[in-house]
Amino acid sequence: MKIEDLKKDIEKLGFPIKIEIKNKNELYVDIDKDDVKKILETMFKKYKLYFSGQFCLQDKDFIINVILTDRKNGYLIILRYKTENEIVSLQGIANQSNLFEREISDLFGLEIADGEDKRNIVKHEIWENGIHPLRKDFLYGQRVKDLCETEEYKFKEVITDGGFQIPVGPVHAGIIEPGHFRFSVIGELIENLEIRLMYKHRGIEKICENVDLNKLNLIFERVAGESSAAYGEAFAQLIEKISDFKVCESIMALRVILLELERIYNFLDDIAGICVDVGFSYPAKKFGYMSELIHQLCERITGSRFLRNAIIPYGSNIDFTEIQREDVVKTIDIVEKRFNEIVEMTLNTVSFLDRVEHTGIVEKAIAKELNMTGVVARASGIQYDVRKSFPYEVYRQLKKSINFEEIGGVFERYNVKIAEIRDAFKYIKTSLTLIKGDVEKKKQWIDIESGKEGFAVVETVKGELIVFARTGENNKMDRVYFKTPSFTNWNGLTYAVLGEIVPDFPLCNKSFNMSYSENDR
């Protein structure tokens, strides 16, 4: 179905709406506040759309945007309605919408009209009252004072004989980011797990509104350190989409190489982590070693171990010549060979398989209900990959099939991650053939008029990242919104550990390996 046809089709539904197509695949539907639920239900039923997120814009009124994705054709449908002080709760219609609504409610101070779950999500007990950091009247640079004025958060409690709660975090024994896990256990069995995050709200979206577009890619990359390249790519894609610019194929292929390198080292770390958590130290060290090799390769070709400041709009911020090309080929070959040996070894070790098989299962139905995306969703049997549904750069030529598994346990996530690494090796090799000649470092001044808006969709190592941006005055953004993959995927973990024993939690957690920082933003 072409997007024009879709537009006509939606117009025929008979609601008082106004539709606009922007940037080729984005459909902006302005609707009335009272019709939201009805329209959404019809849309779900009729077009098989997926709910992907919800965010708020501030003009004179607040504008609530509901992002819907058409995974088959690669369209984004945005339902917009104006409101003064309340959000129409979609809880019960759109899955996980409570997360987005609670976030908007905390950051913009809007009321959730009729939702069941109205607890704070960003605000913690330590925050001062009546503060809404993303509103325009909250000044940039202003700090949230530690006044302990916010009401207490209510955890779900499991009350039975012999049941008790284990609170873990937000400060952990290992060096990891803050997150609070509240286990309700009976003996060693986990009856319920509630995760509380957002301990480090950095206000990235506010910062993005106050930084010049030419430096903004640096802020984007800091949303999540481990997916720097993917966030840089999201920024480049966004700017190029808004200003209708297309870079040449060599640069596109170079970007794919960087993105896939990032995927390799992240997934290598992930599977190393899975091995560490079952105490299987030999392969863990070897995977760690390979990941280090890739990191060093990244440093040699971009000057940053985390591929920072390499992908920029309109061009490339690095030189890519014959020397780098040979370096990539050589390192990839070494790593690939060793990688296959060690993977074979782990798959033949019975004690390892005993731990990972049938552990931490997220069923397909639950994964669907939680709107999970990325590797963890594909391990549960959801066949969705942004690289296939919304092909960017040269992925249209590369990505032919989707790696997925059926059961959705730790072992399946392990397998999908391995398949993704193998694919990444393949894509890097193909992309190298697509680079014609040398790529030279070329930076072009970004200057965009105000009032333009657009979306970028990127597959990061964690899943589907959707970024919305609207340009404002003075070559700055007026609003940037990140729908990060971890935001929805974190809740999958609470289902994965149900019925498992407490010592298996770190294993399940590692197989998910969701990001705290991109969730907290």
Binding site: I166, P167, V168, H172, A173, G174, E188, C275, V276, D277, V278, G279, F280, S281, Y282, K285, K286, Y289, T349, S351, F352, D354, R355, I501, V502, P503, D504, F505, P506
Partner: protein, 306 residues
Amino acid sequence: MIINIIQSMILIIAAPLFSGILKRIKAILRGYEGAPVLQPYFDIKKLLSKERVISKSSSFITTVGPIIILSAAILSAFLTPVFFTAGNELIGNMFILIFILSIIKFFNTLIGLDCACTFGGMGSSREMFIYMFAEPVVFLILAFVYFETKSFNIYKIAKLNAVRTDISSAHIVAAIAFLIWLIAENARMPVDNPETHLELTMVHEAMILDISGRDLAYIELASAIKLAIFLTIFINIFLPFGMAVSLSAAALIKAVILYLIKMLVFLLIIAIVEISIAKFRLFRVPELIAASFSFAIAAISMMYFS
């Protein structure tokens, strides 16, 4: 008499060295250099000079526990032959040795419960869960040893087995049973991962999570001594060939060298086992210990009915 004291002193002093060697072997097998073998000594020295922080909610157990643990470990070292045995010592009853070593476990568990931290309690409950299954096995092995040598005295057992030339299949089966019990008792892989510090999976480390400074040094030293003692007991019961039974210099030197070689071989075996398998799921540990039980029963039947 004096030689017994000397050999036990050597065992105590060398105990951290053995755990240092174990760590080093593991590091080398995994392909990196690792910390120097003397690192445990440096760690203990560092911890001894540190301030002692005690949780507010803890009682006198946490205050006296670590020192009791260390003294129990040192005491049991003096009840163990290392490379010399005359066979007529008055000390060395195996039951006393096993019970003194249980004191270490008992106080570790109490310390875990005492500091009122969730992880300590979890660690203690898991430790007791494993201990409950492992304890009967050691008595079966003792019964086997009694059938074999008609003695419960470890010095006598060591002497009798040191001069024995033939080796029965029951002996080997019992040795395997003892090895599994040793691994379970010392919180090694695949029962517990001594390297991890993930709050939720730890067993032994979880109990001592709230211990710091000097107390931690005592406990670390005690667990190093405990591992060395267990390995020494294993060597002296099941592989005591070459042990010095008379006080001649040549026999002593030979015994020391053989002891070191045997120790290194077992450290190597433990290291290889630890890096090449994954940790068991907690509720599968009883299966491992049941196998050990089965070995012990088989050994006894083979010994008694042959």
